[in-house]
């Protein structure tokens, strides 16, 4: 009787005007190859975050699945990165008002 655990990318979705990449990862527990349970974990990737000087620090996607990396690199064009950076700055300024 062999119990195994594996992770599978269940969904990759590109959402919204800033091209957020939503990733759903399933953890699958199997006994002798037969699925016993499956649970889902999600995370969302954006093009980057602001540093203290309002520079956009690109999100490190090196640890992501190759397909996720390929999609992110495709949809996060320079214009999207600029729009996202401007949106983050606007959010920050609004919070500081």
């Amino acid at each position: 009787m062999a119990i195994t655990k594996e992770t599978q990318i269940a969904k990759i979705e590109v959402v919204g005007e800033y091209k957020a990449v939503q990733v759903a990862t399933d953890t699958v527990i199997k006994e002798d190859g037969t699925e016993l349970s499956r649970s889902r974990h999600r995370h969302v990737l954006h093009p980057g975050t602001l540093d203290a000087s309002d520079n956009l620090i690109a999100t490190d996607i090196s640890g992501e699945d190759a397909e996720v990396q390929a999609i992110a690199n495709t949809v996060w064009t320079d214009s999207i990165k600029t729009a996202w950076k401007n949106k983050l700055i606007a959010d920050k300024q609004e919070q500081e008002e």
Binding site: A20, Q22, A24, R40, R42, H46, T49, K87, Q95
Partner: protein
């Protein structure tokens, strides 16, 4: 009309199937009669749905159910349901703190375009960080409007004239800030800062948040 009485119909020798009638024929099951399926029946009713351990299972993940209508109306289509976890984190609008955790959990349920999330934070240590406390790592991107929620907290400093404390997911993002409305001649709005998280010698901050928001 004649009556045929048999106990069993089987294919002819060497055959594997039996056909009833021809195209256009109608076979009627009388009121009160029962057909029992002890095997596998296919081609009846919903061709794109099957059964899985008693549950309806579509052949395509995009299929759903129209509710409350008798014609296909997009706004009445329920075609998504999902439960799962996510990992929310603390950040700062200027610099991020370094945090280790006793409890750091996020659970979500998505029904159609509605996302309901529950988050629990109970750090074991926090150091550094500055600016507004941002909570990042939500499981779905919020739509183009701010989404407020409710919060339970302990060992988080708020201003003495604060009347309400509200977590708010920013529009088009997966992070939230925690606002506080402050009573005064003109009510003002501020935000919980990273350094408002007050660890004591005996314990650390505790925060629970619940928010329902919409996503695409």
């Amino acid at each position: 009309m004649s009556t045929l009485e048999v106990n069993k119909i089987t294919p002819v020798s060497g055959g594997t199937s039996v056909t009833l009638g021809d195209s256009g024929d109608t076979f009627t099951i009388p009121s009160g009669a029962t057909i029992t399926n002890n095997g596998t029946a296919s081609g009846f009713g919903l061709t794109n749905w099957s059964e899985s351990s008693g549950n309806l299972l579509p052949s395509n993940a995009s299929y759903g159910v129209y509710l409350g209508v008798n014609s296909a109306t997009a706004s009445n289509l329920l075609d998504d349901y999902e439960e799962g976890t996510f990992t929310p984190t603390f950040g700062g609008s200027t610099t991020d703190p370094t945090v280790s955790w006793n409890t750091q959990s996020g659970h979500y349920t998505k029904i159609g375009n509605i996302v309901h999330i529950n988050l629990t934070f109970y750090p074991s240590a926090i150091s550094g960080g500055s600016g507004n406390l941002n909570i990042r790592g939500l499981p779905f991107t919020n739509r183009n409007h701010r989404a407020p929620g409710s919060i339970l907290y302990d060992r988080v400093r708020v201003q003495s004239n604060t009347t309400t404390v509200t977590p708010e997911i920013e529009q088009n993002t997966t992070y939230m800030a925690i606002s506080e409305m402050r009573q005064g001649e003109n009510e003002t709005r501020g935000f919980i800062q990273v350094d408002d998280l007050e660890a004591t010698t005996s314990d650390n901050p505790f925060i629970q948040i619940t928010i329902t928001y919409t996503t695409d």
